[in-house]
């Protein structure tokens, strides 16, 4: 009875079925742990871990230079850029826009920098559903290799004040 003190001697050996279940459960837990490590070495998708501190002003000026150097057009006032494959590319999160619009080449690798100029945001790349938390003051460096041509939508999935639902962006893979 769970609500009364147990019998004096309650440390008894496990029954057969309990032993079986505990063993199977423990094996499954260890499997999941080794899966994490295995994927780290074998898988193509891993948690990005490169980041460095940066002031929002510094980040803004880096991103502005990047846009100026690679701009190829504009959509509704948001610049479109087409950077060289293999280079460092910059995405800015701010209330309430992802900017610029990035044009990337399929199967090429880029170092994507993302940082916020104000509060925290959530980078959500759709429809592949990759999601990352974005801070101000941290330059997050993410190595990406798009594997399918098409239009990718960006939206924000961290509450970033009253216009949160207005915050969108775009990546085009050609």
């Amino acid at each position: 009875m769970a609500i009364y003190p147990p019998e004096r001697i309650w440390w008894k050996p496990l029954g057969r079925e309990e032993r079986l279940w505990v063993t199977v459960a423990a094996l499954w837990c260890f499997f999941m742990f080794f899966m994490l490590i295995g994927w780290y070495f074998l898988g193509a998708q891993n948690l990005p871990t490169r980041a460095q501190r940066i002031t929002t002003a510094q980040y803004k000026s880096l991103a502005d230079q990047f846009v100026e150097a690679n701009k190829v057009g504009e959509e509704n006032g948001v610049p479109i850029v087409h950077p060289q494959p293999g280079t460092d590319i910059y995405l800015v999160a701010k209330q309430w826009q992802w900017t610029p619009i990035l044009e990337l080449e399929n199967n090429k690798t880029y170092t994507l920098h993302v940082s916020s100029l104000d509060v925290q945001h959530g980078l959500s790349i759709q429809p592949i559903n990759l999601n990352l938390q974005i801070f101000p003051g941290y330059d997050y460096m993410i190595t990406i290799t798009p594997n399918k041509a098409g239009n990718y939508s960006l939206w924000c999935n961290e509450f970033c004040s009253i216009g949160h639902h207005l915050m969108t962006g775009k990546i085009v893979v050609k």
């Binding site: 769970a2 003190p5 279940w21």
Partner: protein, 522 residues
């Protein structure tokens, strides 16, 4: 009705007890009053949170889209605070006083301090609610800086946490005193052991909350700065570990309900206690899984904290997942329901609200909330789910369909005992776990599926109607959002049924034995 006064060993005072006619436990009247006020306050928070739940649920139903954007975000903040923090913790404090006093026949240590703890918690909760409704804290319950709220919001949060820390200390002191005064024989009951686990984790949790919120309060007053990453580490040391408090309390209640409804006895006390012990050791590290996609943390830190240690905590949960149904099955088979594999389950007392609440809670937590959590916590997989509605779907199957429903089932037993009034509207109570449980199954599954299709959490307009850069939304997402709206309405109905029964019992049921109220007459 007998009330007895027992002298206390260390102070000259006397505590006044009554003997519960139903359970024969000796109940300290001072503890009983605190159980009642904490439980009633919890239910008021649940009522507020539930009204907001319906309104935000109807807003996220695309064809209804009820509230304006500012009110949606405001009430979402209020929903998170009232449900996750105030309802849960007030009810848990009531549960601690019940477990530490009634179940052990013990007296409450530090009655005055317990009232101070209650006053701090109540004051904090009222302050937070008022500031949110004034529109000065539209920041969500997580309040990530540099999004800033009114300083009084953080003040309220901190007051509440301090009060809760105090309540946990009182519970621990009560346990020690019960042992010293020999109020129970041998080891403490398993349910109390589970509550002890919850209280130990709670102390760590609440301290972590204070570490997160005090610098934030200073920053909101213009003193110093808060690093967004450091805030998230300490905040989730509070926010996630609080879920482990809820988990431990829920499991303690599962064992209790299994005993009360079918007379189940833990199959192996050693194993169940070991599983609780795994929680104490390892589960705090799980808070790191909120930070997997953050910049600034290394791979090794992420993997150790989320996986290695956390999977040992998962092992603890898998053990309970076996022990509890096994205890129920054993008890039912002993009663002669031996037919086939599941005869014991089919013949169980499904009309008993305590039992159906237990089973829905076990099922929703065990088959939806738990498995989705194991998947979400797996390092790289977090990339697929972080901040999507999958997260919201996951925890509406853990803390809402699991813990809250278990608490409701427990309330059906405890409220009549402490109010000393029979349950009001038993017919409603009988159906309540079914309505609430089914609503939550629909709600959490459709939230999860919508999130799998990319639906963001905390979001007023997933049709993206007024954006500068148009985006493409997967067509099925709308359907899932509609289902979630329907689930929300059903679940909110179930929540309202609980409130009717609980409040009705207090206000409209006849008092069982008016004499028992006054200990002096005994």
């Amino acid at each position: 009705m007998a009330a007895i006064a027992l002298p206390n060993t260390f102070s000259g005072t006397r505590s006044v007890f009554r003997v519960c006619p139903v359970t024969t436990f000796k109940v300290d009247l001072a503890a009983e009053r605190l159980i009642i006020v904490n439980a009633v306050t919890a239910i008021v928070a649940l009522l507020l949170g539930g009204i907001y739940a319906l309104l935000i649920g109807l807003t996220r139903w695309p064809d209804v889209h009820l509230l304006s954007a500012p009110w949606f975000y405001r009430l979402l903040t209020a929903h998170g605070m009232n449900m996750l923090v105030f309802w849960m913790v007030f009810f848990e404090v009531a549960g601690l006083y019940f477990g530490g006093n009634a179940l052990l026949n013990a007296r409450l240590v530090g009655v005055k301090l317990a009232w101070v703890a209650y006053a701090l918690m109540l004051g904090g909760a009222i302050l937070v609610n008022v500031i949110i409704m004034m529109g000065r804290a539209d920041v969500m319950f997580s309040a990530y800086p540099p999004l800033k709220a009114d300083p009084l919001f953080y003040v309220g949060y901190i007051l509440f946490a301090v009060g809760a820390i105090l309540a946990c200390c009182i519970f621990l002191a009560t346990l020690v005193m019960a042992k010293v005064e020999g109020r129970y024989e041998g080891s403490m009951p398993l349910a109390v052991f589970g509550l002890l686990t919850a209280a130990i984790i709670a102390l760590f949790t609440l301290l972590s909350g204070a570490v997160a919120l005090i610098p934030t309060l200073l920053w909101s007053l213009g003193i110093g700065n808060v690093d967004p990453g450091a805030y998230r580490v300490t905040f989730w040391g509070f926010g996630h570990s609080a879920q482990q408090v809820n988990l431990s309390a829920m499991i303690a209640i599962w064992y209790t309900l299994a005993t009360l409804t079918v007379g189940a006895k833990p199959v192996n006390e050693k194993l169940s206690r070991f599983a609780f012990f795994l929680y104490i050791l390892f589960i705090n590290l799980g808070s790191m899984h909120h930070l997997l996609t953050d910049p600034g943390l290394g791979t090794a830190a992420k993997f150790f904290n989320t996986s290695y240690a956390m999977y040992l905590a998962v092992l603890g949960s898998l053990i309970h997942a076996f022990s509890i149904p096994a205890a129920i099955e054993t008890a039912m088979r002993k009663k002669g329901y031996n037919k086939g594999l599941f005869g014991w389950l089919l013949n169980a007392p499904w009309k008993e609200p305590g039992f159906s609440a237990l089973m829905f809670s076990l099922f929703i937590f065990g088959f939806i909330g738990g498995p989705t959590g194991v998947v979400l916590g797996a390092g790289q997989l977090s990339l697929l789910a972080h901040n999507t509605w999958r997260i919201t779907g996951h925890f509406h199957a853990t803390v809402v369909g699991g813990t809250t429903l278990a608490f409701m089932g427990f309330a059906y037993y405890v409220l009549p005992l402490v109010f000393r009034r029979p349950l009001f509207a038993k017919k409603i109570a009988q159906w309540q776990p079914w309505v609430y449980g089914i609503g939550l199954i629909i709600l959490s599954i459709s939230m999860t599926l919508a999130g799998t299709l990319g639906a963001p959490r905390r979001h007023w307009d997933v049709t993206f109607s007024n954006v500068t850069i148009p985006v493409q939304v997967q067509p099925l997402m709308n359907l899932m959002l509609t289902f979630s709206g329907i689930g929300a309405v059903i679940a909110a109905t179930g929540g309202a049924m609980f409130i009717i029964v609980a409040v009705g019992s207090l206000l409209f049921s006849p008092k069982r034995d008016p004499k028992a109220l006054s200990p002096l007459e005994a």
